[in-house]
Structure formats: C-alpha cells, structure tokens
C-alpha cells in the first residue's frame, strides 16, 4: 500500500465519496482542470467530469450560497474556500442559513454541506493566506468544525464530514499538507466526528492542541520526556462539538493542562477548554491552566509569522510553569 501525505489523503477521501455517492459534488475556484491551488482536487476532474467537479466564478459569496442551495435540494456539495482568509464573505450563508436550516424549518429542510479550506500559517504565504478562524465558526450553533492533523485522520474525518447530514467546516492545516506520509487504506472507513484523539500517553501534564501544532506539541513532549516528565498529548481534531470528556479524563490523571493553538488568544477554542476545566475540573487541577496561542494581533506577514506561531520553546515553558505547582 502506498504511503500518502495529508493533502493526498484529502484527495483520496474526495474521490472515494464522489465515486460512492452520486449526490456529492466538489465546487470551488480552480478545483477543476487545475486540481486546486494546493492540488487537493488533483485528477478528480479528469476522473469524474465537470458535473461532479465544478469550477466556480471567482466569488466566495457565490460558492457558499450555491452550496447552500444545492444542499437543501438534496445534494452534498463539498465547497472549497481557496484560503482561510477568503472565507469571511461566506459567513452570512454559513451562519444565517446552513447552520440553522434544519432548526428553523423544524427539520423540513437541512443542509448537508462541507466547506473545506486550507487553514493556518507557517508557509510563507502572502497576506490573508494564513488565518486560523476556527473559533468564529465553533461559536455558531448547528455547525461542526473539524481540523485533522495527520493523513489518516484527514481521510477518515473528511469522509465523516461529507457523510454527516449537517454542515461541517473542514479546515486543513496547510503547513503539514506534505509534512510526512503514512499508509492510509482507501477503505471508506470514516472516523467519529465527536472525539479527541490521544496521541501520546503521559501522567504529568496534558498538552491539548489541534491542526499543524500537533507537530510542535509532540516535539515538546519528546523534550519533556528526556527530562523524565511525561506529557499526554491530545489532538482535539473536532473543535465543535468539543469532546471535553477525553480532556477531562487526562487532566484527572495529570492535574495540569496546557492548551496550544495558533489562532489569536481572546475568545479562542483554548478559552472554551479552559472555561470547561474551571467548571468541571477545578479540583482535579494542581496548577493554573496555561494557554500558548497566537497573539491578539492580525497574523503578521511572513517575516514574523514564526514568532507569532506557538513554538516548541513556548510550549515547554508553559508546561514547566504548570510543573512548578505540586
């Protein structure tokens, strides 16, 4: 079996669902003959034709609105926003329509669409190409928000997102699109959309993250292990709905929690996790919860982006602050 990258796993999942479900249609800018600017849809147009893989006019509002219209008529559109920073014009359709179609019609209509977007910083991209807006969507009732961090999870979670009868925002960490390869069987097996994945067991501190920062967080855990400190690493993967139980179980064991995300700090998913820890795990904690996040500034242009993004050193420092408490 061939080993594939995260973005190849995205392509593999799209191809599997197009082949197996006649209602699935992929649409977006440059997703057709060109195969997408990151190659996420490479080969799909040639294989499935222009009735399954649609180039759209250059209009994010239209992509979102058309997808909503197709979805409430029984199709399963998988729409692509070419970059995270171009997603904001789509929000009216996602928030006012896709997310609440089922609720506001009391189940008469629903909106089984997926909105995919390359997500996050760290690839020396131009302005507006490196954003992490997951909290904006996680705040919206009726949505699911998913961010895979490995080829296998990208494949399984994207299959689940497409099959889900409700709208799913699927953010793909572009920094690790081609970071490494692993075997991903093209078996059509979806992963659950409502669980965190424990990537590494540990007893001393819980490190919680998602997306590309799984890489730095695992590196930090390695460094801690060399000092005899055992960190548990959790990939949240689905930030909405949040599987707090898995985080809670880990914190009951470790008593310490460091949340790592590249999005800005205020109102981020880290704040939600910290709030739930305060509500439900106050007496399990032996140290204050730490957040290692992007700063409350716009994502800087790329000369400074690596200083904006949480580093291994910042994660280590935060972990050690929690370990100072006994």
């Amino acid at each position: 079996m061939a080993e594939i990258t995260l973005i190849e796993a995205v392509t593999q999942a799209l191809a599997y669902e197009i082949a197996h479900d006649p209602s699935v249609v992929v649409l977006g800018e440059d997703v057709g003959v060109n195969g997408g600017v990151f190659r996420a849809t490479a080969g799909l147009h040639a294989r499935f034709g222009s009735e399954r893989v649609l180039d759209t006019p250059l209009d994010e509002t239209a992509i979102a609105g058309l997808a909503v219209g197709m979805a409430f008529q029984g199709m399963k559109p998988v729409a692509e926003a070419q970059f995270d920073g171009f997603i904001y014009p789509m929000m009216d359709h996602i928030i006012c329509h896709a997310a609440r179609m089922r609720s506001r019609t009391r189940g008469r209509l629903h909106c089984p669409m997926v909105l995919r977007a390359p997500w996050g910083g760290g690839i020396r991209a131009p302005e507006h190409h490196s954003e992490a807006p997951e909290a904006l969507f996680a705040h919206i009732p009726g949505l699911r928000v998913v961010i895979p961090s490995s080829p296998a999870r990208a494949y399984g979670l994207l299959l689940a997102a497409i099959r889900d009868p409700d709208p799913v925002i699927f953010f793909e960490p572009k920094r690790i699109y081609r970071q490494y390869k692993e075997e991903v069987p093209d078996d059509g097996e979806a992963l659950p959309l409502d669980v965190c994945f424990v990537l590494r067991d540990g007893s001393d501190v819980t490190l919680v993250t998602w997306g590309a920062h799984v890489k730095e967080t695992l590196e930090a855990a390695d460094a801690l292990a060399k000092e005899g400190i055992y960190a548990e690493v959790i990939d949240v993967a689905t930030v909405k709905p949040l599987d707090f139980d898995t985080i809670h179980e880990s914190v009951q064991k470790t008593g310490r929690c460091v949340i790592v995300h590249e999005a800005a700090r205020t109102g981020g998913i880290g704040a939600e996790i910290a709030a739930q820890l305060a509500e439900k795990a106050m007496f399990d904690l032996v140290a204050p919860v730490e957040r290692v996040t992007g700063y409350d500034t716009p994502m800087p242009l790329f000369r400074l982006e690596m200083k904006y993004l949480p580093s291994v050193e910042r994660i280590l420092a935060a972990a050690k602050r929690t370990l100072a408490y006994r």
């Binding site: 909503v68 197709m70 506001r104 019609t105």
Partner: protein, 359 residues
Amino acid sequence: MKTVASFTIGYRQVLDQDGRIVDALPEFARDPAVLVDLYQRMSFTRVFDGKAVALQRTGKLGTYASSLGHEAAHIAIGVAMKPEDVFCPMYREYGVQFVRGVKPRHVLLYWCGDERGNDFTGPKHDLPWCVPIATQCLHAAGAALAFKLRHEPRVAVSVVGDGGSSKTDFYAAINSAGAYTLPYIGVIVNNQWAISVPRSAQTGAETLAQKGLAGGLRCVQVDGNDVIAMLAVMQEAIAHARRGEGGTVVEAVTYRLSDHTTADDARRYRPDDEVKQAWDREPLKRLRRYLEALGVWDEAKEQAWKEQCGREVDIEVNAYLETKSQPIESIFDYLYAEAPHDIAAQRAQAIALEGRPHG
C-alpha cells in the same frame, strides 16, 4: 469607436391602470375563467393581509410584513410555477405561497414567533422566508444548479426587492446563473421603497431589470400591477429556463401600499400624494374593471367572494390562535440530525429549569 454589444430593456403591460387592454392578450387571458381565478386569488391574499395587520394591531401577532399592493406580482409567480419547481421567497410573498399550497396559519405562526411556520404545507422543497436580504437569490441559483446537474426539468425562482437588488448576493446569483446557464428566474419586485430609502437612491441604473445583462441573462421589465402581463412574462421566463436556455431577471414594477412592516411608519418618509396616486395603479381595481366589462364579475360576486375569503381566513386564524407554543426542548431537537453530547446536556438543563423530567 465601434459597438461591441448593445442592449435594450423591454417593458410589458397588457392591462393598464384603467382596466383597458393595451397590448395583445396572451392566450391564457382569453379565457375569462382564468382571469376570474387570478382575481380571486389576489383578493384572497388581500383579505388575509388585512386580517394579519389587524391581528398585529390587537396584540395577537408579532411584527408582520404586509403584501398590500404586491398581489398581481405574487399570484402570477405562483401560478406560473409547477409544484416541483422551487420557490425562494423574501418575506412577504404570501400570494405565491398560497398558490403553492402554504396555509395562512403557517404565515401567521411564523410572524407570531414560532418556527413551525417554516415547516409549512405545500412543496416541502421550497425555502422558508428569508430575512437577511437577497441571500435567497443564491440559494435559488444553487437549487437551479442541482437541477441542471441532475438533469431535472425544474426551475428555481427567487424574489427580491428593489433594495435587495443592491446586494452582493443578488449580483452573485445573476453571475452564477449566467456562467452555468441555470434554470433560474430572479424576480425583482420593485415596490419603490426599501424601508425608507427610495428606488432612486438604490442605484444609478435606469431599470433594475438591466442588472441581469451583466450576467448574460434575459431581462424584462413588467407592470407588476398587471397580473396578465406579469403571468405572461413569468410563463415565458420559466419556459425558457425549463428548455435549458438559461435564466431571466424580471423587474416587476409595483408599489408598497403598506408600511414596510407593522413596526414601520411610512408617513415619516414618503409623501401622501405619492401613495394616493399609487392606489390608482393598484392591481385589483383594474382587473375588476376589466372583468366587469367582460360581464363575468359584479358587485354581488365581489361581496360573496369577500365573505367567503373572510370565512376561510377566520378558520386559519382560529387554527393559528389555538396552536400552543412548542416546549423549550424544541430549540435543541432540530439543531442537528443527531444531537452532540453538549447539546443534550443543555437540553436537559432547560427542561429541568421548568421542573419537568427529561429523558
């Protein structure tokens, strides 16, 4: 300089404001029974509308958006469509919806603050009312795209106002419909006022119909108070779309005889004279005159019909008034196909606050 493209915008009127036929009668309009049916549907919508406003004024309904003056445009759209087509309304197209089988009780439920109004009778694939302005145009285009991809001979129709035609989503729908040659009809019901902002302040365009030119769509302006012309235009646009030849923008020129909603007071911003003159052009009076001239309508029939409408509306009003609120858990029960654990916990909490057991 040579001309690389040139355009004209046609205007369609068959029945003028005095009830005179001023252009060739479409085939359907040669049958007086068809015209009587159109008149009765318009009249029913107006009776309902008056009752709804009265309910709001007496505290039995929330804010309500009246359809007064729009009856010809709305009924023509409804009559021109097939049940399998998709209608994407804004929020005052009751005439279209009544033709399509939506019951007045659902309109009332919606405006009394109950989501079950959106779970209406009639075509289950029609969209509910759309308050954010013009987003429904893109949803109609998306539905039309689905029909095209599935090779179904169906069309999608959206309604937007003159103000809504200023929005990004309206232009996006037109552009998409042109780019994909979609079976999409974008009707602009130009009632001259977007709350307090007049048509003249919305755009420098001479007509709103011409906005469709930018997307490569057919464009027609029609007297939206003339149900005969309006129905002819809609039938042609829908036939064109159903043949796979693409979309049309229809500008139906009419007038909002009411306030924007019952929460608005139009006397603050528009002159009484203008409204008075608009009443001379309204859609029911001219058709009644024509029907009376044909000898197929008279005062006795008018009274009998209005009484019948009143009785039917009363049945609907009573059905609405007897509908109790849904329990609080209903706000959770339709959010997702399968409620995530966090929603289940909040649902239980909301029920517990009322001292009821929860499962």
